[in-house]
């Protein structure tokens, strides 16, 4: 219990650093992490941006201070959706970027994500090199004469927006004059998303589009957290509802009847649409729905699965043959490599609207024709170390009955369902998932996994 409590407020991993403001995530720690990053990239311009959280300014100032002290030129882009941030890091030929964000974590949290010059999150190997500098405290403090100034870039989102509008058949989307209910949850998407949709000729019904970080609902865009946008779709007679997560990399969809389709299907819809136009591989993580395998099989293309963590999907996506045309995660994260190899709720909105524009059917019918599974996501308390011991015991239990993968935690595939258990990268919990054709089947699979876990826990 003690070790969980100690871990609970600070996590430094391949997903960056996350902590609780007022507790572990102090200006001093933040500046030190930035000094290490500035030393790692060896000076040059470094983008600094943030999501809409109230603690964002306090932390981005600490980042700016740390970067200046090691000779970088901080380029302050202010509040920016994370996909725009990644896009601009590459487009502006910066040496790297630090985004102040805690994605979907609750309000007391915040964190840093570290981005290399190519606009990608640091890979696990790069993170290791970077953290070595942090741990050794080997920072390249510069003498006064080498100091750079801070650059303000107020229109950093424009380049991303322009690329998005060129990517889709904007004319076709504009002709349909879609009515769209949009819930930004007062997050980083708020300054840009309504504009993007209006540029696509949509009539926007905005909900929570003030980028003030005051989440209007739990930031995880799962069906139970988004009743307001569902009600707005119904009362306005909208064609579709979109919900962005706090840093605008993930997207949940509500159909024209005001029903959440489930964030798992965002990628499935996008993948089917992309593959209808061109052939290529799908890349997703281990926990994403089996519906993607069905889509791949139907189009005769390959599907590759990776460890959890966006960077793992991205690394695979950039290296597979045949070339990947779509990638992402089951949490509503869609990666369109034509725009930038990162999860991008704007790309997802564009693809879904394009799919709608090219079909006479409403969104509910497009969803109804997808292969359907039911995925249940749950978690239990426990550290990574505890998860590791659990997994070795569970593996022995499962390897006789199913196909076992140890790529990330333990995933067991059965003919009609699968289960997955793994430690979270961002929180001191163990995630457990089960998917089957039906709700009852998924529930049964999860219960059986949980009872196996209880049995194993007795042995630990």
């Amino acid at each position: 219990m003690n070790s969980v409590k100690k871990n609970a407020t600070l996590k430094i991993s391949i997903s960056g650093a996350r902590g609780i403001v007022g507790d572990s995530l102090t200006p001093q720690l933040t500046a030190t992490l930035a000094q290490a990053f500035g030393t790692y990239v060896g000076g040059g311009p470094v983008l600094v941006g943030r999501d809409a959280r109230a603690s964002g300014i306090m932390l981005s100032e600490a980042v700016i201070s740390g970067l200046l002290s090691v000779g970088c030129r901080p380029v302050d882009v202010g509040i920016l959706p994370i996909p725009s941030f990644l896009f601009v890091t590459k487009a502006s030929k910066s040496a790297g970027g630090i985004a102040v964000t805690a994605s979907h974590n609750p309000k007391p949290w915040n964190g840093l994500k570290f981005i290399s010059h190519d606009g990608l999150y640091l890979t696990p190997q790069q993170t290791e090199e970077y953290l070595d500098i942090y741990h050794q405290g080997a920072f390249d403090f510069i003498p006064y004469g080498k100091y750079k100034s801070v650059q303000i870039m107020a229109d950093a989102g424009e380049a991303h927006l322009k690329r998005l509008l060129n990517r889709f058949d904007s004319a076709a989307i504009r002709r349909r004059k879609f009515k769209v209910a949009l819930d930004c949850n007062n997050g980083a998407g708020a300054p840009l998303a309504p504009r993007f949709l209006r540029e696509l000729g949509c009539e926007v019904i905005p909900l929570y589009c003030e980028p003030n970080g005051e989440f209007a609902h739990d930031p995880e865009p799962t069906p139970e957290n988004i009743p307001d946008v569902c009600a707005a779709v119904k009362s306005a007679g909208a064609d579709i509802g979109f919900v962005q997560d706090a840093d605008a990399d993930r997207l949940a969809i509500v159909d024209e009847k005001g029903r959440p389709i489930g964030e798992e299907l965002t990628l499935v819809l996008a993948a089917r649409h992309v593959l209808a136009g061109k052939k290529g591989s799908i890349v997703c993580n281990l926990s994403s729905t089996r519906a993607l395998d069905d889509i791949a099989a139907a189009r005769g293309v390959k599907i590759f699965r990776t460890k959890i963590g966006e960077i793992n999907v991205v690394e695979k996506l950039l290296s597979v043959k045949p070339k990947a045309v779509i990638g992402g995660e089951g949490n509503g994260g869609v990666i369109d490599p034509e725009i930038h190899p990162c999860r991008d709720s704007f790309a997802a909105m564009g693809l879904i609207l394009e799919a709608l524009a090219k079909s006479p059917k409403p969104i509910s019918s497009l969803v109804a024709s997808l292969p359907r599974y039911v995925l249940i996501k749950a978690w239990i308390e426990g550290s990574a170390e505890r998860a590791h011991r659990l997994i070795s015991l569970l593996k022995k239990r499962y390897e006789k009955t199913g196909t076992v993968s140890l790529l990330d935690g333990l995933k067991v595939d059965f003919a009609d369902h699968w289960v997955h258990i793994r430690p979270s990268n961002t929180e001191p919990i163990i995630r457990v998932l089960a998917e089957a054709k039906t709700e009852a089947g998924a529930r049964k699979a999860l219960e059986s996994l949980k009872s196996e876990i209880s049995n194993c826990l007795k042995k630990i």
Binding site: I20, M58, I64
Partner: protein, 448 residues
């Protein structure tokens, strides 16, 4: 190189003056402020933005609202602290120190430099390291008011305080060297308000200084040549924070910075007599001036903390140092080069006398200031050794060692900013002043 004390932290930017060190100090000040709002300003040094960002972050994290004035002279910051009734102010400036230095200077709730007790409290917080850490909902907010919001009220107050009509009527030509410091952006507005013709030099704040930002004759070459070329009535040199000023007369004499204080005192005490505060290191000229106006003179240790503590205790009307720093308490309890310039121009206008004539009225002493390297670890021993053979018998140990003689005095004290001993002697005879200093320098060099 780092100096930490009750007046804040000062260091050479690089491996010792780091973001986390600055944050620790700003956090200590945040703890002192106890969540009250703070006004922030910096001078133009190229590394200022690093310290600024570190301070903003730490102060917000301490739960203090931050009103960031950006590049702004320290006297205007101090006025703003008082006008906004803020909890305090933080000036990021190393004043007269050269470009590689920077410092955090803390201002109290009334716009006055922290007194030694308040400074000690901040230092205690720093050493304890147990800083306030506000949760997300309790973090401070950052605001950045436009220049007009703080420069305008200041200029208007200054305009009302000095005899603007007289200055305007005189139509002086004045050369001001801001040393590319914090005063640069305000000078035009200042000249317009007081009604003189401004010839600014070194007025582009580019992060570097054209010469050391210490107002004194050896840095005055450019001002002297411009005063000469255009026949200006006065030349002024400012420190990077616009706290200090030294003068160049219309005869192109670069006047010792020691003249600024007695010159202003002579004019001001005639109108408004009262106690005068200065330091042990300041020229005897001020003694003669104070005596002439029947005003008591009280000497303190060097540094605004000690001076402004005495100002409060003695209900002084005027305070100043031999460095060109002057505070007229009826205007504000802060060293203020704008006010000093205004008062000197006012005196010139009201009396119709040239600057050289005004200075000519002052008693002339010769002051010799030297410094000698002395490692911090040796200072105590060296001063103890010097005391045994020190000049004269009545040693004043208020700040280092100081002794008076018939025509002057000599002082040895630790530098507040460098590993140096400062040796200062004054005498009616230049040779005697030089001899007094040389004797001490030789003894110190023998000991090290």
């Amino acid at each position: 190189m780092l100096k930490i004390g009750i007046s804040g932290v000062r260091g050479i930017v690089g491996p010792s003056m780091t973001p986390t060190l600055v944050m620790d100090f700003a956090s200590a000040f945040g703890a002192f402020l106890d969540r009250k709002p703070v006004v922030l300003a910096r001078d133009t040094r190229i590394h200022g933005p690093m310290l600024r960002a570190a301070c903003v972050s730490a102060l917000l994290s301490s739960g203090c609202d931050v009103i960031d004035l950006g590049i702004c002279p320290t006297p205007i910051l101090q006025k703003t602290v008082r006008r906004l009734a803020a909890g305090g102010g933080l000036a990021i400036t190393a004043g007269h120190n050269d470009i590689q230095w920077n410092a955090l200077t803390f201002i109290g709730p009334d716009g006055i430099s922290l007194n030694p007790f308040q400074g000690q409290e901040v230092l205690d917080h720093y050493h304890l390291g147990n800083f306030e850490k506000a949760a997300t909902d309790d973090l401070g907010r950052l605001t950045t008011p436009p220049e007009s919001a703080f420069i305008e009220p200041y200029v208007e107050e200054l305009q009302a305080f000095v005899d603007t009509a007289a200055i305007r009527a005189a139509r002086f030509k004045v050369v001001i060297d801001a040393c590319a410091g914090a005063a640069a952006p305000c000078l035009e507005r200042f000249a317009e308000a007081l009604g003189f013709d401004l010839i600014p030099i070194n007025n582009e704040p580019n992060g570097f200084f054209p010469h050391d930002p210490e107002p004194r004759p050896r840095n005055a070459a450019q001002t002297v040549s411009v005063v000469k070329a255009i026949g200006a009535e006065a030349g002024f040199l400012l420190s990077s924070d616009a706290g200090r000023v030294s003068l160049v007369s219309e005869t192109t004499e670069a006047l010792s910075e020691e003249f600024t204080f007695p010159l202003i005192a002579d004019a001001l005490l005639a109108r408004r007599p009262g106690p005068v505060i200065t330091t042990y290191s300041t020229s005897r000229m001020i003694e003669d001036v104070a005596r002439a106006h029947h005003c008591p003179l009280i000497r303190t240790r060097v540094g605004p903390a000690h001076i402004f503590l005495a100002v409060g205790q003695e209900e002084a009307v005027l305070a100043g140092e031999g460095s060109g720093a002057v505070a007229a308490l009826a205007f504000q309890p802060a060293f203020d080069a704008f006010l000093s310039m205004g008062l000197i121009l006012e005196t010139m206008a009201q009396t119709g006398k040239h600057l050289s004539a005004l200075v000519g009225q002052l008693p002339r002493y010769h002051i010799v200031k030297e410094k000698v390297y002395c490692p911090t670890s040796r200072i105590h021993g060296v001063i103890g050794e010097l005391a045994k053979t020190f000049h004269g018998r009545d040693i004043d140990t208020g700040d280092g060692l100081r002794a008076e003689d018939k025509d002057g005095w000599i002082q040895v004290r630790t530098s507040g900013t460098e590993p140096m001993l400062r040796v200062i002697a004054e005498d009616k005879s230049k040779e005697r002043a030089r001899a007094k200093v040389d004797k001490i320098l030789q003894s110190v060099e023998l000991m090290i």
